[in-house]
């Protein structure tokens, strides 16, 4: 009985992230438009886009290989599995012990690896631009993320995301310098990994400003729909991660009663709304960086993560 309920909750979590991700992307776009004093597309526009794209034919370049056709499914499955393991309205999910935070980041790294390969597959210069810039950004964003994971793991005594979330929501954590530094670094890395302004412009198709868009330039039809969905899922994953670690109110441990479930879902929806608005506000108030300023930005995030880890190695109470 308990097993079935836990299985149902894990399944509900997986479906919830999948269904909410396009809505979140639509909400951010609408908020950005309103801040720029435009009407903006309707909130459900991303769903309409996905349905439209999946109904169209795939137009495949003549030089594309079987890898090009398989990559969208690989990227989507890796991102979906990673997103299902991040607690949204409840910690202690049934399969949360199968992949800890390092494994979740490595899954996202797999998705990025295959997407970069797909960018090189057709043999055009745009794909090459996207892939080479993406791996440069990843070569600094991933170590910064690992340093943040170290900080969290040293504070909570475990790399399991559920355990960390549980510890940080209890009173044992307190307000620590290293956690503050880790939060700033995590926000910087999240912006870089999701390709938001100031690192990359998700709405552009100009070569000067492309990273992610350049890699997926040759994709069309259902393949493009899967990749767009995976990108929305990744954004949702990072927002859920920041929410469950640094704003853990309303999350109950597994095994709590049904009212707690409703409160958890409501709290999660509220956190998503706040995060979406803040993201839109940040993106409209800052300009995109030149490509070679990005390593300095991410280098700063890596230094912050390293400083936070160093403080925890040196003293237990920092």
């Amino acid at each position: 009985m308990v097993l079935i309920r836990d299985l149902a909750i894990q399944g509900a979590q997986m479906l919830l992230v999948l269904l909410l991700a396009p809505l979140f992307t639509g909400f951010v776009r609408k908020a950005k438009a309103q801040l720029l004093r435009r009407q903006g597309p309707p909130l459900i526009q991303p769903y309409l886009d996905l349905v439209r794209l999946s109904r169209k034919d795939v137009v495949l370049a003549e030089s594309a290989s079987w890898l090009f056709r398989v990559v969208p499914y690989l990227v989507f499955s890796a991102t979906w599995v990673a997103a299902s393991l991040v607690p949204t309205f409840r910690t202690g999910l049934l399969f949360s012990w199968s992949a800890d935070l390092i494994a979740i980041i490595a899954l996202l790294g797999s998705a990025r690896f295959f997407l970069a390969l797909a960018g090189l597959d057709v043999g055009t210069s745009f794909g090459g631009i996207g892939s080479s810039r993406e791996v440069m950004i990843a070569s600094l964003a991933e170590p910064a993320m690992i340093m943040i994971v170290f900080t969290l793991a040293l504070v909570a005594g475990s790399t399991q995301l559920s355990t960390i979330a549980g510890f940080l929501s209890s009173s044992g954590a307190g307000l620590r310098v290293s956690l503050a530094l880790a939060l700033i670094a995590l926000v910087m890395v999240a912006i870089a990994e999701n390709g938001r302004i100031p690192i990359d412009n998700p709405a552009t198709h100009l070569e000067l400003t492309m990273v992610h868009e350049a890699m997926v330039l040759e994709y069309s039809g259902r393949h493009l729909a899967l990749i767009e969905l995976a990108a929305s899922l990744k954004l949702m994953l990072y927002v859920s991660l920041i929410a469950c670690l640094f704003a853990p109110w309303g999350i109950e441990a597994s095994g709590a009663a049904s009212p707690a479930l409703a409160i958890g879902i409501a709290a999660y929806a509220g956190k998503l709304a706040v995060a979406g608005f803040l993201l839109a506000l940040f993106e409209t108030s800052i300009a995109k960086m030149r490509v070679f300023r990005v390593p300095e930005f991410l280098g700063a995030a890596l230094m912050l993560g390293l400083l936070a880890t160093l403080l925890l190695f040196v003293s237990r109470s920092l």
Binding site: G174, L175, R176, V177, A180, L181, I184, E296, G299, A300, M303, L304, L306, L307, L310, L311, V314, S315, S317, L318
Partner: protein
């Protein structure tokens, strides 16, 4: 003193170190002044919190001095000087940003190790505050060493003084007299530096110390 009090003090001191790193990262003069104003603001908050914790009302005066003079008056005055002197608004650095940041990290690690070993008998709150304060002092020195522009060096010097104030308040018991005299001496030094900068600019048409060095006559 509960756990949350320690934590807030540490967070404020940690933010001071973070803002020092942010100062090292800047390469535009106006942005540097804004960051320095933030530095003084966080210092004022930290001193005020210490005043609350230690129940020492004279520290509130220190916090007010930091807020009014260092966060408002001095940045505005420096801004005016820069406009009048027409100083080149890009700060040239001696080594690249990456190397400077790495050196900064090394200095923070060094000050952590030194302070946590040397001050074994002090309480944990004072120990870690002193470690952060020494980091801020060393980072201020690093800024003075790696900047070619005289105004950048002045800002480094003032960040260093902020670190000293943090150390003094953290160590419990900084009499108001000392603070007033320190503040006035800083003000005098600032006026003198300002006058010198004007004279140098009149004489040599530049305040880049590298160029001024060539006038020394030994090379």
């Amino acid at each position: 003193m509960s756990r949350i009090d320690f934590d807030v003090a540490h967070v404020l001191a940690g933010f001071l170190v973070l803002i020092s790193f942010l100062e090292l990262y800047q390469d535009r003069l106006y942005a540097l002044l804004n960051v320095y104003a933030a530095h003084a603001l966080v210092l004022a908050a930290s001193v005020a919190w210490q005043a609350f914790l230690q129940d020492a009302p004279h520290l509130y005066v220190t916090a007010m001095i930091a807020l009014v003079f260092k966060a408002i008056v001095i940045p505005v005055a420096l801004h005016r000087i820069i406009v009048r002197l027409g100083i080149h608004r890009q700060i040239e650095k001696v080594v690249g940003v990456g190397t400077t940041m790495l050196a900064g990290m090394g200095l923070v690690a060094l000050s952590m190790v030194v302070m946590l070993r040397v001050t074994q008998q002090a309480g944990p709150l004072a120990q870690e505050d002193l470690a952060f304060a020494l980091s801020v002092v060393l980072l201020g020195l690093l800024m003075m060493v790696t900047r070619r522009n005289a105004v950048g060096q002045v800002v480094g010097f003032m960040s260093l003084e902020n670190g000293l104030v943090l150390a003094a308040t953290g160590a419990r018991g900084m009499p108001l007299v000392v603070e007033i005299s320190v503040a006035f001496s800083i003000l005098i030094a600032f006026i003198v530096i300002g006058i010198f900068l004007f004279r140098i600019r009149e004489r040599f048409d530049t305040v880049d110390v590298q160029v001024i060095d060539t006038f020394r006559g030994e090379r």
